[in-house]
Subunit: 337 residues, 2 copies
DNA sequence: TTGAAAGCGCTAACAA
DNA sequence: TTGTTAGCGCTTTCAA
């Protein structure tokens, strides 16, 4: 499986190997016919340039690290899809790694990425504290955070306006006639959750509603935990006509618990999610939700990172994208029971 | 952002740089105290070995190409998750690319992988023809195909026993009392679909049932196409009490069409899927299905590939894993209407 | 327009 | 036990 090198081509074409290099790189300082001759020989010999060797001298691997918490999470996989597309369109490839939402692994992965000489990394952080624990690496490797709002942190990130998204959601529910809206599944320690809860509170205030919370006491977000939480909720008396779930994943758990408890959605309770993961659009689920524009998130992240790399920009950028409401069928107009 | 090299460390430690290399690689031909001294200097200087340079001399990048049709497909993302885990556990990383189920892109990606000097590639092929179009590359790069049964093709692959899975499904439905089972969504030109249909036919034969088909006339499989196909189906008279969908994705489309057409599942029709993608276990969906063991598929693929690489095995292996039935709630005992 | 040669950061064979 | 040196395959000065 030994590959043909530039030297083999040079020998076959009867030129020096720097000439071959020039022919390949489209350098102007070479005559048209030698170039053509060389290119023909390359084809014949099935020559493929060794990117690794090139990377060594160019000091650029054209490789981007993509660190996600879990590629199996639909939000991440959609993001990864678009990151790959966008990166490839710009001549880069992706080394994919899962951090399993573990900050220690995150650090190890950064170490690994540095060793692999990637040109930069796109990181879906485990949480807001990632920016802190990774600080030593951030000066060594251009990095863009995705999906987590790092507030005033002097690091580049792209995320959405979570507060505004939540505000939008409450407005929508209010317009449907709901006056008692429960905010469900807020997780302490997550900036994202904090900002969403803030938006919820602000909207309640502006619309004259009384905020009600049912917080996530687990420190994880998953359908399973959302389900367990919702079971607890449904064991209590109801003082709300709509549930605004902090994430679609939570909402899915609510859906499951509701089904088991004989609660109909949206007939008995309206349910609104946040994220618009792919699952939410599935038949029978049809969750109305606040959309995070994943494609946009990905392409802004890649663009930013490549700008940073190619222009050796110091400094940082914060991109806050605007979420939108996706109306499906888990919310209905309020009707007095 | 210039990185510390082995030479910098050597200078700082007052030794030659090959000594540093030895200290780092845990070579025995070095005294314990110089090693320790060097290691300490490495720590102090924040030295990270340059994997690219190492790869050049070792002729091994410890990188695996993972080419999927679409990472956003839940089957693929689950596979990718396990491939990453398994590969990382064995000291490898993954370069991820989407082929968009396009054989031309597949070829380009192989070219790219060769250039990047990956040690091998794991490929979820676009279709059975991929093995043909990629033939020129397969001799240049150790490759394992995943998920597609290449029959007697002399290439390594790991897939499941599709015929047996389908057989299992028919048996199950038969046991529930169903005698008229429609096979839905079979796509021509896919070996996987062919094998499943074969298993369906064999089971029908053995159990004395009459096979009924409603084939996929689109050449793609997606919820949307499954839905359109099911709409056509439901416009016709019914002569079946159960639908066996060729894939979960198809089944999801059936679910959606059924909902719109006022057909209850499983009360009116039982629905059985194939693949057990993550979506199928979601609340309200709860699709009974035949499981492809994705984790197993991934780890067998990685193991095979690494064996192939490390032992420079010529030859090839075919691994056919056994599917199992996952019982959820989309199938009910037959009741005469 | 072309060739010779240095060097990217590392490993390993050979010398000392 | 340590140092010297020759590459790995490429790009890029500098000379011719």
């Amino acid at each position: 499986m030994k590959n043909v090198t530039i030297k083999d081509v040079a020998k076959a074409a009867g030129v020096s190997y720097s000439t071959v290099s020039r022919a390949l790189s489209g350098s102007p300082e070479i005559s048209a016919d030698t170039r053509e001759r060389i290119l023909k020989v390359c084809k014949e010999m099935n020559y493929t340039a060794n990117t690794v060797a090139r990377a060594m001298v160019m000091k650029s691997t054209k490789l981007l690290g993509l660190i996600v918490t879990d590629i199996n999470n639909p939000f991440m996989s959609e993001l990864a899809y678009h990151v790959d597309r966008q990166a490839r369109a710009r001549g880069y490839n992706i080394i994919l790694c899962n951090s399993s939402r573990d900050t220690e692994q995150e650090s190890e992965l950064f170490e690994l990425m540095i060793g692999r000489q990637v040109d930069g990394v796109i990181l879906c952080p485990s949480g807001p504290e990632s920016a802190e624990t990774l600080r030593p690496y951030l000066t060594r490797l251009p990095t863009v955070f995705v999906g987590e709002n790092l507030r005033e942190m002097p690091e580049s990130y792209v995320s959405i306006d979570n507060a505004r998204g939540a505000y939008l959601g409450v407005e929508y529910l209010h317009k449907l006639g709901h006056r008692d809206i429960l905010y469900f599944g807020r997780r302490r320690g997550s900036t994202t959750h904090q900002l969403r809860a803030d938006g919820y509170a602000a909207a309640c205030h502006d619309l004259g509603l009384t905020p009600q919370y049912f917080n996530n006491t687990f420190s994880f977000t998953s359908i399973k935990y959302g389900y367990q939480l919702a079971k607890q909720l449904f064991a209590q008396e109801r003082h709300y006509s709509a549930i605004f779930a902090a994430t679609d994943t939570n909402a899915l758990g609510v859906l499951q618990a509701a089904e088991e408890s004989g609660i109909r959605i949206p007939e008995d309770i309206s349910l609104l999610g946040f994220d618009n993961i792919r699952d939410s659009g599935l038949p029978r689920i049809n969750l109305t939700t606040i959309e995070q524009p994943k494609k946009m998130l990905a392409s802004v992240a890649v663009d930013n990172l490549l700008d940073k790399i190619q222009n050796e920009l110091a400094g940082y950028t914060h991109h806050i994208l605007t979420p939108t409401l996706i109306e499906r069928s888990s919310c209905a107009p309020f009707t007095a029971k």
